[in-house]
Structures are given as C-alpha cells and as structure tokens.
Amino acid sequence: MPERQISYREAVAEAIKEEIARDDRVFLMGEDVGVLGGAFGSTKGVYDAFGGERVLDTPISETAIVGYALGAAMAGMRPIAEIMRVDWMTICMDEIVNQTAKMRFLSGGHPDVALVIRAAAEGGIGLGGQHSQSFEAWFVHIPGLKVVMPSTPYDVKGLLKSAVRDPNPVIFLEPGVLYGVSGPVPEEEYVIPLGKAEVKREGKDITIVAWGTLLPKTLNAAQTLANEGIEAEVVDPRTLRPLDIDTIIDSVKKTGRLIIAHEAMKTGGVGAEIAALVQERAFDHLDAPIKRVATPDVIIPVNRSLERLVLPQEDTVVEAVKSICS
C-alpha cells in the first residue's frame, strides 16, 4: 500500500488535533487560528473539531498571545500559541525571552512552563521585507528555549507532537513556502524526539547542513552534484536548540568538508554557530574552510526576480560546493 501523502500544513493541523485530543490541557490560541483555520491554512479543521473552548481566536495582540499562553501554562495548561509570522515575534520578544524562557529559573524551578510558540518563517512568496524573515538565530541565543524548524510533512508532524509534550518552552518555526508541499505521513501516530538531526542523504565528499526551505533546495542540489560525481551528505538538524552537533561532527569527520545552508541572513545566522563549533571540535578533520550559503545581508524585496536573486537557491548551493570540492 502506498504511503499516505499530505501537505506540510495538513501535517501541522493533524498534529495539533491529535495533541488536543490526547491531553485536555492542550489548547490552541492566536490570530485567525480558529474559524478561518489560520492565515496560511495551517490550523484548518482544528476549530471544527474542538470548537471555541479549545481554539481561541484572539485580537491582534502579540504580547498578550504569548503572555497569556505563559500564564495559562503556569496554571497548568499546555498552550500552543501561534504568532502568524516570525517577523512579528519582534513584538513579543520580552514575553518569549525575558518571561517564557526564564520563567522556570526565575520562579525557582516552577514545573509548568510547557508551551509551544509556533510561527511561519522565511520568505519566497513575495511578501517583502517585513514578512519574509527568519530569526532562528535570535532564539538559539536564548538559554531556556528549544528551537525547532522542520522541513517535511513527516518531520513537522512528529516534531510538533513532541514539542507539545516537552516540558520546556519550544519555538516552532514553519517555513511558509513549504506549507503547500506534500510528502508521506503515516496514518499511525508517531513522534520524533527534539534534538535529533537526521541524515537526509548519505554521501562521502562533503557535508551540507541545511534546514528550512534550504533543505529541499539542498537535496535537489545534491542530486545535481551526484550527476557530476560529487556525493554530498545532507544533514537536517531539525532542532536548532539543542543542536545535535555530534551528528554533524561525525559527518564532517567522514567528508572533511562542510557547507551550512540557511535562508536567514548570513551575518549572525545559525550557520556561524555551527561553523564555530565544527572548526573547534573537528579542526584537524577539515580539508577546506567551512562555507555558509545564506541570504546576503539585504532586505527581502517583493519583486519576484529580485527575491529569487537574493534568496539562496539550489544553484547557490551547487556553486558553493564546487568552490570547495575541487
């Protein structure tokens, strides 16, 4: 029997529905998550299944969405809060960073700080400078948070379910451009542990660590490279904090070369952290400098060709690989 195919957005909605059904402490809140089913359709059907008691449409009040979710968690609930896009997590960084991430510590080990804060991330759909960003690097810098960024329907479902069950606050970033992409997702329940990378493709010549929209682009690039005789190993960290650095180091020890590919801006992106860690821990195994493929430091334009130009593409990955595999 061929495996069931569903879209990334359906996988998100399915995970949320299953978790709400499983645990009566779990609920969903955010702007337009209920009746409409999400501005990007990623919570479609959740309201129909559970109604307004477990699915709260909120006013446009990002600080209140996260603050309320945190308060509700502290009083025993397990909220899934949606901020429509990571770009406007800028509005509730105090609630995320100073409150949620530190609540356990600052309240003397309070046990109930279990909440998931989801948002669409990255660009690629012509929405411009304030709707195309990716701030995973900010959250990776914050002790107390976990940061997850899955790239396939299978991963997003399994990781979102784990995130909901995790006793820590989890920032859960969903690349908006992938919502419509389908892939195999079994009917049976499963979870994927946070903090485990997956080798999405094996190879011996170079390691490419990629996540978000760069993961599918990198897998395509690896195919192209294979046709030219270069076998790239593609590692998807899936969780960026805690980072499964061991899997990355193991791969680099095998290949001797590393590229990190992400859509966030190059300067100060998570690519820098991975590069720093790998050169520190696998210095003698590196046959070439580690390279980063990322958006050059610009503001994402709306015009389609300009947007395509600045965002790293399959080609960008191919060229970067060739530049250090010669």
């Binding site: 909120t58 446009i60 990002e62 430091d297 610009v298 300009l306």
Partner: protein, 330 residues
C-alpha cells in the same frame, strides 16, 4: 465653512479613482500580475478621502497595509503607485516594497506598513518633529480596528497626549481584523471611547459618509494646528472585499462572515452610492455626469495600467541598495 461644489466633486472623483484602481488591481492579481499580496479598501473610500481632504498641502500622512486609497486620496501619482503594486522599477520603491510599502515624499506621504499598528508611533513621532521644528504642519496617522488592540496604539496615543503633538489618529473601523470581527476583538466596540483614557478627544463617525468624516477630521486637524494636541477619530465603515487579494482567491478565504452581511453593506452602505445620491440631491451632478466621471476615473486607471505594465522590471543591482545610506551622506 461648508465644502464647495467643486470640493465635493473633487472628493467624489477621488473616491471613484480609488474604487477603479482597486477593482483593477484585483483583476491584475487574479491574472498573477501582483507579486505577494495586496489589501484593497473597497467600501472604505469615504474614510480615505474624507480624512485627506481635511489636510493642508504640507501635512504628513502615515498609513497601513491597506493604503492605496490613502495614497490616491492624498494625490500620489497613480502611475507610480500602480507600478509599485506590480513590483516594477518605476514604482515608488522600485518594486522592492510592493503594495504594503507605498510612499510619496513630494506629498508628505511618509510611508505605509506591513506590521499592523506599527505606524501609530511613527505618526506620533512625526508630530513630535513638527512640534519641535514649529513648522505648523500636522500629521495624520491611519490604522485599523484590529491595530487598535495592539500595544502600540496605547503607547502611541498616550505619548501623543503627554507630548501634545499635532497628530490626528484616524482609525478605520472596517469591522474586521482579517477574519476577526471587531465586536469580538474589542472589549468595548466603541474604539473612540479609548481616547478618554489618554485625556484626548475621541469621536466616532459614520465612515461611509465622506462629509461626516471630513468634518470630524477637519475639526481634529484644526485643533492640532492650534496647538491643542492630538485627537482620535474612529470612522465606522465596512470592508466589502476579502482581507487580501490573495486570501480572496483562496477557497474558504472569506467564510468567516455571516451570510448576507457583505451583500447588505454593498447594497445599502456603499460610500460611493451614498455620496452619489447626496451629490444628486444637492443638484451637483446628474446621472449622465456621474457616468462620465466614472468613465474618466476608470480611464485614469487604464492609463496607469499602460504605464505600469509597460514599465521595466527592476535591475538586479537594485536588490542591494537603500539598505544603508550611500557613503558620504550627512
């Protein structure tokens, strides 16, 4: 001082221009010509035109994601605005900002915003500069009913009251913030009632009546110009289309509204229809003239479309400019 016939006809012309522009781009969007998305304000033209008609030439405006109407009401170049919506090199940001980032400095239109509620503080700050520089201008800041629930509304209005800046805050209550009915998003549906909390006058006005909007905004503008500080005006209207052109094309993208609600407003509270009747009543226009005006305004869009569609795509290098000031600028 009542508005002259000429002024009123001019207002009607602007409203028609906005309507044609937004119907036109909706069609362009369906054809895939609009990158990203765009938010039309069909049904809200009276707020844009009533408000902007109350401004002097040198006054500033700051607007939102739903801004075409504000720009056109303020007299921005329709060609440039349309080119921007289509992401063309001839647009006001050279196709880089798109529909959510329109501006025209020659008309003191300092910009619009993709972040709901972010313009409120900026509008206050423009008012602060005006006050410090004693230029006698005022700044008008537009925002929506949804934005009124953001913290920026609170901080921005209180700060304006404290600093007594000449900013007029105009809330277009089109009764929805995306899918959220305003009556479910606000503890008190009367947004203008919040003004009292900041010690500032608040007025609620029928936003489908362009003259009523004009009068309310005009008195707030006069007040601000006289150094008496900021005001809040809530103009109640209705968004006759979906939240965005993109969502309107999505299945179920507008299912959140009660049956018949849109049709009812379109039938009975379309600001263009209302104003046209009023003008006829006043004897300022007859059916034939009205149709001619309509055709003229449609023609304005057509010729803008000619310009914009034939405009070049931006050059690749432009993706890398305007991020920092050019070296040497002081």
């Amino acid at each position: 001082m009542p508005l002259t016939k000429e002024a009123l006809l001019n207002m009607y012309r602007r409203m028609l221009t906005i309507r044609h522009f937004e119907e036109g781009i909706t069609e362009f969007s369906r054809q895939g010509l609009v990158p990203g998305t765009g938010h039309v304000s069909i049904g809200e033209e009276a707020v844009a035109v009533g408000s902007c008609s109350a401004l002097g030439d040198k006054d500033y405006i700051i607007s939102t994601h739903r801004a075409h109407g504000h720009l056109l009401a303020r007299g921005a170049d329709i060609n440039v605005i349309l080119a921007e919506v289509l992401g063309k090199a001839t647009g006001c940001t050279g196709g880089k900002g798109g529909s959510m980032h329109l501006s025209d400095f020659s008309r003191q239109i300092l910009g619009t915003n993709g972040i709901v509620g972010a313009g409120i503080n900026i509008a206050g700050g423009v008012g602060l500069a005006i006050k410090m520089r004693q230029t006698g201008q005022i700044c008008l800041g537009f925002f929506g009913d949804g934005a009124a629930n953001r913290g920026t509304f609170h901080e921005g209005l209180n700060m304006a009251a404290v600093l007594q800046v000449p900013t007029v805050f105009v809330c277009t209550n089109n009764q929805y913030g995306l899918s959220m009915p305003q009556c479910k998003a606000c503890g008190n549906i009367d947004i203008s009632a919040r003004a009292n909390g900041y010690g500032m006058p608040g007025y609620r006005v029928d936003g489908t009546d362009v003259i009523a909007v004009y009068e309310a905004v005009k008195s707030a503008v006069d007040r601000a110009r006289d150094g008496e500080g900021p005001s809040l005006i809530e103009a109640v209207s209705y968004r006759l289309r979906g939240h965005s052109m993109r969502m309107d094309q999505m299945p179920g993208g507008s299912d959140y509204r009660p049956n018949g609600e849109v049709e009812d407003w379109a039938e009975n509270k379309d600001p263009l229809k209302i104003f046209r009747s009023k003008l006829k009543e006043l004897g300022y226009i007859n059916e034939k003239e009205a149709e001619q005006l309509d055709a003229e305004c449609r023609q304005l869009f057509e010729s803008a479309a000619d310009f914009a569609l034939n405009s070049p795509e931006p050059e690749p290098e432009t993706a890398f400019t305007w991020i920092y000031a050019p070296e040497g600028v002081k």
